[in-house]
């Protein structure tokens, strides 16, 4: 490529980026949202959960206990857990779980739950009637279950002691010795890589595609619709230079968006979630280099493909209605790739479009550089990226793209 050609490609890319960034809405969509999305989720979601939990804890609940004999300490524990109760006699039913005449009482919330308790010599039977679509009723059920669990535990211990046996050795005859985490021979860096490999490729694939949609459409079908393409096609630049310039601009905008989103995600995980959850992955220089290569090949393919589809379209509306559902072509392979077991994986997986790069990223984030796999995904990705670029160049060489629809 000559010096003049490079300058023209640079001028096209620069103009596209300048024009794009002058619309504040696109800055919010491409820069602010990706950067803040995960940190906000990580901050707001726990806050929301905590406030909901506190609200439930503060609830004063009322239940009915139907029993032929209520153990004294059980009644005390129920009261202690913020539940008022009244005691009734057990109705005559085929099983304690059959609602019988109590169905309406629970459904119309005249009581939050009904605990049925029956003794039969040494064994107790119970059932809790509740309304699973009501938060109050669910909370009542959960508190009753906790109280019953504690009461059962104390009953078990008492009976073991009465039988003259040691409680601890009877209940816990098999124990792990030492710290469980000490027994894992994977380093913390490798563990981090494993965790990151579960969502970084997914985020990367989906965000690369989705954040390239808007600039791709704006720079192709948008130009066509606004009638700015004709003047551009009369300039001393080739269609290939035009494609390269626009590709560079879309790839830059998309790259910034994806990078910011990953930064936001890692920041959220590292500082906002429990800090021991994830650390820095341990990667060799070869792995890092191959990660960069795989992302570049993926971006070339995706952006060229989107530019081609958008350039084929006669209007922004048409381009949007093609590119948005085409996200499924990325989403399904991306989700599918997450469940593939990497141990002993066959080579052909690394030749399937989209799947190949996502599997490669998963392997590389775990610092696994397997020459056979690298060769397959690198060669197949170059072929797919070349095909996408060729398809895009064909669309850019179409004569009818000059026709303005405005």
């Amino acid at each position: 490529m000559s010096d003049g050609s490079l300058k023209r490609v640079g001028a096209i890319a620069k103009k596209e980026i300048v024009e794009f960034t002058r619309d504040w809405r696109t800055i919010i969509a491409i820069i602010v949202i990706p950067l803040l999305m995960f940190p906000l989720l990580f901050i707001m979601f726990p806050v929301l959960l905590e406030s909901e939990a506190a609200e439930l804890d503060a609830l004063e609940l009322s239940i009915i206990i139907q029993t032929d004999a209520l153990p004294e300490n059980l009644g005390e524990n129920i009261s202690f857990n913020g539940i008022d109760f009244s005691v009734e006699l057990l109705p005559n039913l085929s099983s304690l779980s059959v609602p019988g005449n109590d169905l309406e009482r629970v459904r119309n919330s005249s009581t939050d739950a009904v605990l049925r308790l029956q003794t039969n010599e040494d064994v107790w039977s119970y059932a809790i009637l509740h309304l699973s679509t009501s938060e109050r009723s669910n909370e009542a059920r959960n508190r009753i279950l906790n109280v019953l669990s504690d009461w059962e535990d104390s009953e078990v211990r008492e009976r073991i002691e009465q039988g003259g046996m040691d409680v601890n050795s009877t209940l816990d005859p098999l124990r792990w010795d030492g710290e469980i985490s000490d027994a894992d021979v994977a380093t913390s860096g490798e563990q981090s890589g494993m965790i990151l490999s579960l969502f970084i490729p997914l985020v990367l694939a989906i965000w690369t595609y989705s954040s390239a949609i808007q600039p791709s459409i704006d720079m192709t079908a948008g130009e066509r619709e606004r009638g700015t393409l004709e003047a551009l096609l009369c300039l001393p630049c080739t269609r290939m230079e035009l494609l390269l310039g626009k590709w560079l601009a879309v790839a830059t905008i998309t790259g910034v968006g994806v990078l910011l989103q990953i930064c936001g995600l890692l920041f959220a995980i590292g500082y906002l979630a429990s800090s021991s959850f994830i650390g820095v992955p341990q990667l060799s220089m070869i792995s890092i280099g191959l990660i960069v290569l795989s992302i570049m090949l993926f971006a070339i393919m995706v952006v060229a493909f989107e530019l081609a589809l958008a350039m084929r379209s006669h209007s922004v509306k048409e381009a949007g209605s093609i590119l948005a559902p085409a996200l499924m072509l990325i989403l399904f392979p991306a989700l599918f790739t997450q469940v593939i077991n990497l141990d002993g994986i066959e080579g052909f997986w690394f030749a399937i479009p989209v799947v190949n790069i996502l599997l490669a990223l998963r392997e590389l984030l775990m610092n696994r550089v397997i020459t056979e796999h690298v060769l397959i995904w690198a060669v197949s990705s170059v072929i797919y990226a070349s095909l996408a670029a060729y398809y895009a160049s064909r669309q850019f060489n179409r004569e009818d793209i000059v026709t303005s629809l405005s």
Binding site: K15, G227, A231, L233, C234
Partner: protein, 277 residues
């Protein structure tokens, strides 16, 4: 006679089923203003795009006088398309500078030329404004400045005075004549006969994709034996003008069927209307 610059030989251009241009042959000479006159859909814009190398002829050839394809002279070409093609988020100067850079012209030279012509067009104060709020006339003038900034030898102007007020239109015409006097060649598409008469050295009347006449205004009057160019034009274009058709994109059978499915039929005019209802 001036030397030949551009040679169009037996050119035909088809869009799907429509023959937009049929057997067009034309020589463009250096230093003249050629007016392409015709109704909407006559083929003026298609011919301009062929001259700019944006379209390739379906048959025939569009070459420079040295035999090279027209695309190789884009460096010397300044184009004002029908749609002006300005970027609304860029200022007028940024629009101009973008095209100049694509021509490889340094910003300082492009700025000096832009300033000079902006003075003529009363646009100097608007160069730093975003083009979003520009009127049609201002957009037209900006597009003209953009076409001139890199110092082209050939100007292709598609309806350059459309939307301009009388004074601005007169200024543009004067500018075009000045460029011709400085040695430039201008190809000027319009459907205003009076304008073509005022500006052009030579008028080419195009109708339904054919050249119906080619010559100076005086020659056209002589050839058609009429008293005015309007009469001459009417006598040459008596057959009904066709509608504009440029989109080369073929619609798939399914797309066509689907579109027709939701398109109501035209009212049946043969139905009798009961006036009492």
């Amino acid at each position: 006679m001036s030397k030949s610059l551009l040679s169009i030989q037996e050119v035909t251009k088809n869009f799907a089923e429509v023959e937009a241009l049929q057997g067009i042959s034309l020589e463009i000479y250096s230093g003249e203003i050629v007016g392409l006159v015709g109704s909407n859909g006559a083929g003026k814009t298609t011919l301009l795009r062929l001259m700019a190398g944006v379209y390739k002829p379906s048959s025939g050839s569009v070459n420079l006088s040295n035999g090279k394809p027209v695309a190789s002279m884009r460096q010397e070409l300044g184009v004002v398309p029908e749609s002006t093609g300005l970027y609304s988020r860029l200022t007028a100067w940024e629009n101009i500078r973008y095209h100049s850079r694509m021509h490889g012209v340094p910003d300082s030279i492009a700025w000096a030329r832009t300033e000079k012509f902006a003075e003529h067009l009363d646009m100097k104060d608007s160069l730093s404004r975003h083009t979003k709020g520009f009127s049609r006339g201002m957009r037209q003038k900006t597009a003209l400045l953009r076409a001139l900034a890199h110092g082209p030898n050939i100007l292709l102007l598609d309806e350059p005075t459309a939307g301009l007020d009388i004074t601005s239109a007169r200024t543009v015409r004067a500018l075009v004549r000045q460029l011709r006097d400085e040695g430039g060649t201008v190809i000027y598409s319009t459907h205003q006969l009076a304008e073509a008469q005022q500006v052009c050295d030579r008028i080419v009347i195009i109708h339904n994709g054919e050249i119906r006449a080619d010559g100076s205004p005086t020659k056209l009057l002589q050839d058609t034996n009429t008293q005015s160019l309007e009469d001459a034009y009417v006598s040459l274009t008596l057959d009904q003008a066709r509608t504009r058709q440029e989109d080369n994109g073929k619609e798939s059978a399914f797309s066509g069927w689907w579109r027709r499915l939701f398109t109501p039929r035209a009212p049946d005019t043969t139905l009798e209307v009961n006036e009492d209802e």
